[in-house]
């Protein structure tokens, strides 16, 4: 009940904060300008924020189960960096094509890149909790420098960096609908939740209880890749989100994935909404891109999580 109220208040404040002046009375009075702003910019933005926040957090939760590591998330397993590589690849080698080809390229790269990382992790004998995100971040760095190499060669550095910065201000009706993919993907994640939980107990355990381990891992990776690359494509890079939301939720709610998934989605949406509203208020009437705010907040929380981790303190 209280949770519902919280998101409604935040959502309303998100709807009515912005550079263009728009009053509630004007909408109620049926003013055309106000209605246009409302339905073309503000409402799509709110929907995009909620979908992106929920989607990335769910992606993080799934990734944590698949990697058997609580510090895994799209930004610490190279998924987002691979998506960027796919984007640059599409720009360079299929520049005349439409956005479907770009999207497919992004999906393919992020799925393949993440699978590569997961395979690599499974080969690894000693899985230190901290080692996995460290390797993942470095893997992301390597893929990132490959992306920069291509971008530099074809003069795309500027468009790449403009695209990297996550920002909801460019969301308008007609260009964000791809984000709806978060809904079926999250439902799929929910349906598979118990299987992911079983897989997170390790390959041999999963096989013992008759689970097709490889298939479950593959489905998990596809869900993660689709969720995070749709967000990357529409909004940009939102670091740490998929990492901190599931962790904080499981701090309070325990480790049951099926139970946690709705909460994770909800708190992800709330966090992104908060950060977005904050970014719009700080230097009003200009805005600060959300990726900056969230990487400051997320970085601090992440460091806290690592430091409080008893097993490696």
């Amino acid at each position: 009940m209280l949770m519902g109220l919280g998101i409604i208040i935040l959502g309303l404040s998100s709807l009515f904060i912005g550079a263009a002046d728009m009053q509630l009375q004007a909408i109620l009075a049926g003013d055309t300008d106000a209605l246009t702003i409302f339905f073309v910019s503000r409402v799509p933005r709110l929907i995009a924020i909620c979908l992106a926040g929920a989607g990335l957090s769910v992606a993080g939760l799934v990734m944590q189960q698949v990697c058997q590591n609580r510090f895994a998330s799209p930004s610490t397993t190279g998924t987002i960096d691979c998506a960027m590589l796919g984007y640059v690849f599409a720009l360079v080698f299929a520049s005349n094509s439409n956005s479907t080809v770009t999207m497919l390229s992004i999906f393919t790269f992020s799925i393949l890149g993440t699978l590569l990382f997961v395979q690599f992790l499974q080969r690894l004998k000693f899985k230190n909790v901290i080692l996995v995100p460290l390797i993942g971040i470095m893997y992301g760095n390597i893929v990132g420098s490959l992306t920069t190499f291509i971008a530099y060669k074809y003069d795309l550095v500027q468009s790449l960096s403009a695209w990297t910065v996550a920002n909801f201000s460019s969301v308008l009706r007609g260009n964000f609908e791809l984000l709806y993919v978060a809904i079926p993907a999250s439902i799929l994640a929910y349906l598979y939740a118990s299987r992911f939980s079983a897989a997170s107990m390790g390959e041999s355990f999963a096989k013992n209880i008759g689970l097709d381990y490889k298939k479950v891992v593959f489905i998990g990776v596809v869900i993660v890749a689709v969720l995070s690359s749709s967000v990357v494509m529409i909004v940009g890079m939102i670091p740490f989100l998929g990492l901190i939301v599931p962790n904080v939720v499981s701090l309070f709610k325990g480790d049951n994935m099926r139970k946690n998934l709705p909460f994770t989605a909800y708190w992800g949406a709330v966090l992104v909404l908060c950060c977005d509203v904050l970014g719009r208020v700080v230097i009003f009437p200009y805005e600060v891109p959300i990726s900056m705010i969230i990487s400051i907040v997320g970085g601090v929380v992440f460091i806290y999580l690592v430091m409080r981790d008893k097993s490696n303190a």
């Binding site: 995100p133 460290l134 400051i296 490696n312």
Partner: protein, 316 residues
């Protein structure tokens, strides 16, 4: 004896590469123009590579670990953040930003403070895990980057122009004055390191052994942290952040030279760094036709190498 020959070979290689860089296409008519253009750039690369390599070496010695380097721990980003902070607090025209010496002092002081806090907090805990220290460092680095980006975003555009140069420092636009000025602190540090080399040799045996051999480890660590902060400031001010370079150079040095003596290692790693960075820049300019920057190459191969080290370090 064999190490000595290797050192001589490296020294010759460094001199040859420097000469190739400076001397290409020179003749009696144009040498003044070319030399005045080229020497600050070449000197900057030489000084910076020495600073990067030596700081990584010392850092590994005092942390007694082969996979740590200051730049992976976020020190480069901290330097850039310091510059942005100075400009946003005091303005781009303040002497604290424009005066190279004052700026240098302010940046190193801030970096000193940070490193003392981070490592003080960390090493005080018993049995600190090196991987979580690394992870915290990596995340700190990206945190500093985002804060700097945030500050630049809200900054006055005119002021931003002042910072921009220090954010994107590269091999091709080197601040000439800064190059000549940075020679003195660098030379002083190197002389100092040769004087304390034997202490560092003992330190490489581990903190406990060093203590039992009569070394005040805390004091040495504090001094060395200061030296490292200075070196990072020099290298970042001269050519900007190069994430993995120190790691590669120091690891190669340790492979090539069997010695544990820091007087040898400091010399060797400096020479090797000069050969690699100047050589790499020459390859980028002449063979790859400026199609990429050397830092991209370093990040790519350095990243792979770092993963390799991480895994081997873990498996052993």
């Amino acid at each position: 004896m064999r190490d000595r020959y290797k050192l001589i070979i490296l020294a010759v290689a460094a001199i040859v590469i420097t000469a190739v860089f400076l001397g290409k296409g020179l003749n009696a008519d144009n040498y003044q123009f070319f030399l005045s253009r080229r020497s600050p750039k070449v000197l900057a690369i030489i000084f910076a590579s020495i600073a990067i390599a030596v700081s990584s070496l010392i850092f590994q010695t005092i942390t007694n670990n082969r996979i740590l380097t200051p730049s992976i721990m976020g020190f480069d980003s901290l330097y850039l953040l310091t510059q942005v902070l100075i400009v946003s607090l005091f303005g781009g025209m303040s002497s604290l930003f424009i005066d190279a010496k004052l700026n240098f002092l302010a940046s190193t002081t801030l970096m000193m403070l940070f490193s003392t806090i981070l490592f003080g907090l960390y090493f005080r805990k018993k049995g600190a895990n090196i991987f979580s220290l690394l992870l915290v460092g990596v995340v700190c680095g990206s945190l500093f980057d985002s804060i700097a980006q945030f500050l630049m975003m809200v900054m006055d555009p005119n002021e931003f122009m002042n910072v921009q140069d220090s954010m994107f420092a590269s091999f091709n636009n080197v601040n000439g004055e800064l190059v000549y000025w940075s020679m003195f602190p660098l030379a002083l540090i190197l002389i100092y390191l040769f004087k304390v080399a034997s202490t560092l040799d003992v330190f490489w045996l581990g903190k406990d052994n060093a203590t039992s051999l009569g070394i005040n480890t805390d004091k040495v660590v504090r001094k060395m942290m200061f030296v490292i902060a200075l070196l990072i400031s020099i290298s970042t001010a001269l050519i900007g952040p190069v994430l993995f370079f120190g790691l590669i150079v120091v690891a190669l040095t340790r492979q090539l030279f069997s010695s544990y003596q820091h007087s040898v290692l400091v010399t060797a790693t400096s020479l090797l760094a000069v050969v690699m960075l100047l050589g790499g820049q020459w390859v980028v300019e002449n063979l790859l036709g400026f199609q990429t920057t050397i830092s991209v190459i370093i990040n790519f191969f350095g990243g792979i190498y770092f993963l390799f080290l991480l895994l081997r370090n873990k498996l052993n």
